[in-house]
């Protein structure tokens, strides 16, 4: 924020300044990049754990919805940060990604202008993405994130069977909890530093008018949507289907049978088999599409 300049003419140059000229700027940027990527991975793994352990059951259904919302916020966060590079590497994805919004019947064009600040990407769009990235989304993330954690406590900690059904009814004490958290922090910190050193955050030349974008790929977490888009109608494949996936995840706890109380927090409980199967199918499909997109 001290060096970045949200102006289409200067954004990519300011990122080059951060990456190459500011001491440890490149390392910091790569850490930021990898932390953002791994956040999507961890959030997804967390979601899968919650589903495969049937942990969203009963009173935790609402917090599960908050979690889904957080994942969506994280994805938008990542995409907005990706766009802030404003270089040749993001150009195609920016155009295609935001055009999907325009493909929504009736409200699409208005939504597009609200998001982009004009009829095509430009100064207003970059400024909006910047404001959302550093301010708007941060507020949303903080509020929902705090609420999510608060609900974990309010719902009685992480999902486990009731005390009378557990072989060891004791819970870990608060000191042990802090120790584990510090350990997790250290390990993820090392992983991030090593990743940042081995594979620095991507960077490309500033956007040049009249040239075709060098990288025609969406960011990896949207590769599956990009792959879907090849099948035809952008509104159907690019908007409705991803929203459908999201909607299905959101209504899982309300529509499908839940795990039984004694199964809470246990892997693959019989009670919510249907949910496990449907999420496995969805997850595999998304994974396969992503791998196809990576080729």
């Amino acid at each position: 924020m001290f060096y970045y300049n949200p102006n289409p003419d200067l954004a990519a140059l300011s990122i080059q300044t951060i990456t190459f000229l500011v001491p440890f700027g490149g390392l910091l940027r790569s850490l930021h990049y990898w932390a953002a990527q791994l956040l999507i991975v961890t959030a997804t793994v967390h979601l899968l754990r919650v589903i495969f352990t049937g942990a969203y059951a009963r009173k935790r259904r609402f917090n599960y919805l908050l979690g889904i919302l957080l994942l969506v916020v994280c994805l938008i966060f990542d995409f907005s940060g990706y766009v802030l590079r404003w270089d040749e590497g993001i150009r195609w994805a920016l155009v295609v990604g935001t055009n999907l919004i325009r493909s929504i019947p009736l409200i699409g064009p208005t939504l597009y202008i609200m998001l982009m600040g004009g009829v095509q990407p430009g100064l207003a769009s970059l400024l909006r993405f910047y404001a959302w990235h550093i301010f708007g989304l941060t507020i949303v993330l903080l509020i929902i994130g705090a609420w999510h954690l608060f609900r974990v406590r309010r719902d009685g900690g992480i999902a486990v069977p009731p005390p009378e059904l557990r072989p060891d009814p004791a819970r870990i004490n608060r000191f042990e909890l802090v120790r584990r958290e510090v350990l997790a922090m250290l390990i993820s910190g090392v992983v991030l530093v090593v990743l940042a050193l081995i594979k620095p955050a991507p960077i490309s030349a500033p956007i040049q008018e009249g040239l075709t974008a060098v990288d025609g790929r969406a960011p990896w977490f949207f590769l599956w949507v990009q792959q879907l888009l090849r099948w035809g109608d952008p509104f159907l494949w690019g908007v409705l289907v991803p929203l459908g996936v999201l909607a299905w995840l959101a209504v899982l706890p309300y529509l499908l049978p839940e795990s039984k109380p004694e199964e809470a927090g246990r892997w693959f409980p019989r009670g919510n088999r249907a949910a496990q199967v449907s999420v496995t199918i969805l997850g595999t499909a998304i994974l396969v599409l992503t791998l196809l997109g990576l080729r």
Binding site: Q16, F20, L21, F24, L183, L186, I187, L197, S204
Partner: protein
């Protein structure tokens, strides 16, 4: 648990130390803010040992990016070089307008003699329009010998000769049917400035301005030098003009396999006649910038632009060669002499000029009526006298060089 925390902390420490060491080993950025652009660039971080390209392009004034493009702030080689114009050669004609052009540089007004780019783009050396027209006429693809096509399409902006076309279309071999034209298209276009050169040392040349103005030592393509000069030795001209000959028996172009050492015997067409000065001087000592780079008109044959004759310097029995006395300190001759200071030319000096009033700025009249020529590439000094007043028996109506050759050609 405690052990795991200790290990993790140690790993963190190692990772942080490693990142410190990596940061410390990065080259220290070397900043340069050229006065021409006023924008800081860091190219010198890696390219500090590169020689300045010419005294006319001081690096403090122009820096690197104003000619080469590229990412001025990037210290990653791939990114920094990704947007360079024309790869390593910004003077390639595809990039030249952006790299060397601009009204402040080489895209200026014709009357100021700063229109080099427009002239080169329309010149025969670039268009090859004459040969294309010849071939298409010979094989029945066009009815006249006038130029209609060039290696690339081009439009003239400075036409002064009403008998020349306004524009050329791009020659497209895929639209031709005659086998002769197709073979010509395959073999013969590659010499001309706008076309991609053939691979291999014998046919290697630079493209654009660098084809002439960046002489490589001995014409060796491996030794690319960061240099621009108007002191162009004959070896540079030979990278195109002495590649070999078209063999009429096999109907193929035979490239030279050697690097010639003896100019008289190894060079040029075996049947051609030469006088001494034609193989001892450098080509640029006689041939002018308009001849080499064009005059803005699109011509259909070499003869339309190549006009220097023996008499340009030596005069005839009846007339002395044409001269002019420099009065303007901003005279083109003085500017050219400034670019290649082999001669101490000054206001008041009398120099030779061509029939088209192009200054032969390296040839000055001496007080005794003789002339001195300073070799543009060698700095060697030669003196010569005019034909007028000698015992030359040339007829008055036979003033072209070929008539001089009848007596003055050397034995080969």
């Amino acid at each position: 648990m405690k052990l795991a925390t200790v290990f993790a902390s140690a790993a963190m420490l190692v990772a942080l130390v490693a990142s410190w060491i990596i940061q410390d080993r990065q080259p220290k950025p070397v900043a340069l803010t050229p006065t021409f652009t006023g924008q800081v660039e860091y190219c010198l971080t890696c390219h500090a040992d590169l020689a300045q390209i010419s005294t006319s392009h001081p690096v403090e004034t122009f820096g690197c990016v104003s000619c080469h493009g590229g990412e001025r702030l990037a210290l990653d080689a791939d990114l920094a070089h990704s947007t360079m114009r024309g790869g390593a050669n910004p003077s390639d004609l595809a990039a030249v307008e952006e790299s060397c052009g601009g009204a402040d540089c080489h895209n200026g007004l014709a009357q100021d003699h700063r229109d080099h780019i427009q002239r080169v783009q329309t010149s025969l050396q670039t268009t090859y329009a004459g040969a294309i027209a010849q071939m298409r006429y010979t094989f029945g693809a066009q009815a006249d010998l006038a130029a209609h096509y060039g290696v690339q399409a081009v439009e003239t902006q400075e036409k002064t000769n009403p008998n020349t076309p306004d524009a050329l279309l791009a020659f497209d071999p895929s639209k031709e049917t005659a086998p002769g034209i197709l073979k010509f298209a395959e073999n013969c276009l590659t010499c001309h400035l706008e076309a991609e050169p053939l691979p291999g040392a014998q046919t290697y040349r630079f493209t654009g301005c660098a084809a002439c103005h960046t002489p490589t030592p001995g014409g060796d393509p491996e030794q690319i030098v960061h240099r621009l000069t108007t002191a162009i030795p004959y070896t540079q001209c030979n990278t195109c003009h002495n590649r070999g000959n078209y063999d009429l028996r096999s109907m193929t172009f035979q490239t030279r396999s050697d690097l010639a050492t003896d100019r008289l015997h190894d060079y040029y067409q075996p049947i051609a006649q030469f006088t001494r000065c034609e193989y001892t001087l450098d080509c640029v000592d006689c041939h002018t910038r308009q001849e080499a780079m064009g005059d803005g008109n699109i011509y259909s044959k070499k003869k339309d632009i190549q006009y220097i004759q023996c008499k340009t310097c030596h005069g005839t029995l009846a007339e002395l060669p044409k001269t002019t006395t420099i009065t303007d300190p901003n005279d083109l001759a003085l500017r050219q002499a400034f670019l290649n200071p082999v001669i101490d030319l000054k206001v008041g000096d009398t120099i030779l000029v061509t029939d088209k009033d192009e200054p032969l700025w390296n040839i000055r009249q001496l007080p005794d009526g003789a002339y001195e020529m300073i070799g543009k590439a060698t700095g060697q000094r030669f003196t010569f006298r005019p034909v007028k007043g000698t015992a030359c028996q040339q007829k008055v109506d036979q003033q072209e060089s070929r008539y001089c050759h009848e007596c003055h050609a050397v034995q080969r």
